[in-house]
Amino acid sequence: MTSNPDKSQRNGAPAIHAKQLCRHYRMGETLIRAVDGVTVTVSAGEFVALLGSSGSGKSSVLNLIAGLDRPTSGSVIVQERDLAQLSREELARYRLHTVGMVFQSFNLIPSMTLAENVELPMRFAEVDRGKRESLAREALARVGLQARMNHRPSELSGGEQQRAALARALINRPQLLLADEPTGDLDSHTGTEIMDMVREFNQQLGMTVVMVTHERALAERYAQRLIFLADGKLVGDEENSPVVVSASADRGRA
């Protein structure tokens, strides 16, 4: 896979712009304000960590950016498209081509082999069969799983499953990588392995990364910016220097 960042990314133009973003829902009699007036801008090519305790609304914000959910009010503009204005069909196309997602629980389809899991987004994108197979093989090789491509997820370790999920997230070459507690179910060594890969994608492919986590140490080690949420509100937004500093050099070059 080659790096192919467009102009907006080079200029550091906003990739994501959330404005007065709200997501309320009703649970019985009580109104829950999962996201309550969040305004935030993420530049193209940035690596951002969304931090907060459980119930702070960080996953809800991620789902709104991913186009999996719609805001109650406010707007999310991703690459000049207001997600709230998109139809269900357009939103699906947005998820297919613009967003790659990884989850805490990997979310691979258990009845499919790794290769089939990685191919699945290309089926939705109607990529030709022959091309699909070689791209899936290439993506799995990139995350070091070429030997495991015909195994089912249940036959693999958690780290291997998350690597496969990363390969799947990248297969349609999205500009945005959204990660929801990607290391939550992994031991620290495997977690580091996964995070190194995420950083690699951020630096080499120029992908904008938004990662939800509750581990501040992990966020400080990898993210360039830390955004803190509590009770659905933005309570902090600070620049951060990742421990491994190759990132800034890379960004300067790009």
């Binding site: 699906a92 297919l96 989850f103 009845s111 699945l120 939705f124 109607e126 349609n172």
Partner: protein
């Protein structure tokens, strides 16, 4: 998503919960099988009935009579067309003319006469009729003992059962079982029968009056020896009522006898030659659907016609109603299968909630998810349809076999009253496919509407 991907994923998903999906598919096949079985029974019975009716000769025959007979079947017709006195004579040239009409297979004169027969020196009085060689396929002769006429001119006779009883001096007692034709035929076949009849013989006139010369003939008493070759169980002329014959001769033989006919007397002034005049001609039509056309053509020639076309129409209507009823009963099982599919797919949605959520998260649209469930329903429908048609066909064969074993035990000839035409196979497959798709409608749209955030949270 492409159709190939869709069907591949659908088949894969069906294989994942093999037991449940197989059971559902079996449900569909049983439904299709019962539909196919019911409808093929209806079609088979209809074909059997029309085959029987065709053989009976009732439905492809038009009876032509001269208007000069003054015994029209229809007063309305009597008022139209030429007056009886001016209308044509039903003679040999006319018969040939009718035979040349389109769709006409043959036109045979109806020769019948009441006369005396001698068997073992005892006189018997009965009606004799001539049969064309094509009557061999009439189902009245199907269970006949002995043989049909060896040729159209052979001096042979076939007896009807009641006349055979009369010859042997047996009268069946009421309430008892009817006598077996075999027992009647055994002492009669091969024996000789003598027919006494009045022959019309043209006389050579010495007078110079040409117009009257050929019209003169004398009536001579004659005898003809006949060999009994068969005894018919059923009555080949049951529709004729009191005028039905009990002894049958080959047609050409009967013609060569020149038996004095009642029409001969009436037409003596008109008949210009030795050409025979017929009281009626039986016209056989290639196919019952041409009956009306032939009747119209013959009427145009100035004759009266009669056929049982209307009766056949109401019989066809009866079978249409029967088919509808059988179809409804067959569809009931398919309706149960329909509910089975809905149930299976709704269960599959519950089970695969998370999977649906994942697919949506990685970019599947509502319509992708919908199509996928649709494809699964359709695949079950096609598979169930194929198995069901095969099953229905097998059920039919078994019933056919069983019934024929029963018929044989009751000494009836075997019957094929089970028919699975190609259009029924195609219809059953299409129907099962469409019913399955309809069953997939609700589950598919439900799966498509699933909220991905909630579906992903679901463990």
């Amino acid at each position: 998503m492409k159709l190939s991907d869709l069907s591949e994923l659908a088949v894969r998903n069906l294989r994942e919960s093999l037991l449940r999906n197989s059971l559902t598919t079996i449900g569909i096949s049983v439904g299709v099988a019962s539909l196919v079985a019911m409808l093929s029974l209806g079609i088979g019975l209809q074909q059997l009935a029309s085959r029987r009716l065709m053989k009976s000769g009732l439905f492809d025959t038009v009876v032509v009579t001269s208007r000069r007979d003054l015994r029209n079947f229809n007063r309305e017709e009597e008022r139209n067309g030429p007056a009886p006195g001016e209308s044509r004579i039903l003679d040999e040239p006319t018969r040939q003319e009718i035979e040349r009409l389109p769709h006409v297979l043959e036109a045979n004169p109806d020769i019948r006469f009441i006369t005396e027969l001698r068997f073992e020196d005892k006189p018997h009085l009965t009606t004799i009729a001539a049969l064309p060689s094509s009557a061999k396929s009439n189902d009245a002769f199907e269970s006949m003992q002995g043989l049909f006429f060896s040729s159209d001119t052979a001096p042979e006779a076939i007896l009807q059962k009641t006349f055979a009883e009369e010859l042997l001096g047996k009268t069946p007692k009421p309430g008892l079982d009817e006598t077996d034709v075999k027992q009647l035929a055994a002492p009669l076949v091969g024996k000789e029968l003598t027919v006494r009849y009045a022959q019309r013989e043209a006389t050579k006139s010495s007078s110079g009056d040409q117009s009257l010369a050929s019209a003169a003939y004398s009536v001579v008493s004659r005898e003809q020896k006949l060999k009994i070759i068969g005894v018919a169980d059923l009555d080949p002329e049951s529709m004729r009522g009191p005028t039905r014959a009990r002894v049958f001769l080959p047609l050409k033989l009967a013609e060569s006898l020149h038996v004095m006919q009642p029409t001969d007397l009436r037409e003596i002034s008109r008949s210009a030659s030795d050409q025979p005049v017929y009281s009626s001609v039986n016209v056989r039509v290639k196919n019952p659907s041409y009956i009306q056309a032939v009747e119209d053509a013959v009427k145009k020639m100035g004759f009266n016609t009669f056929s049982i076309l209307d009766a056949s129409k109401s019989i066809q209507q009866f079978f249409k109603v029967l088919d509808v009823f059988l179809g409804i009963f067959g569809s009931l099982a398919l309706a149960v299968a329909f509910i089975g599919i809905v149930n299976t797919l709704v269960m599959a949605i519950l089970e695969r909630r998370r999977e649906i959520g994942i697919m949506k998260a990685i970019g599947a649209s509502d319509s992708d998810v919908k199509k996928l469930f649709f494809a699964e329903a359709g695949a079950m429908g096609i598979l169930g349809g194929v198995v069901g048609v095969a099953l229905g066909w097998a059920i039919g064969q078994v019933i056919n076999l069983g019934t024929n074993v029963y018929l044989k035990s009751q000494s009836f000839p075997p019957e094929h009253f089970w028919s699975v035409p190609w259009w029924l196979v195609a219809f059953a497959l299409l129907f099962s496919f469409l019913v399955s798709l309809a069953a997939g409608l609700y589950p598919a749209s439900r799966a498509a509407r699933l909220d991905p955030v909630q579906a992903l949270r679901y463990e």
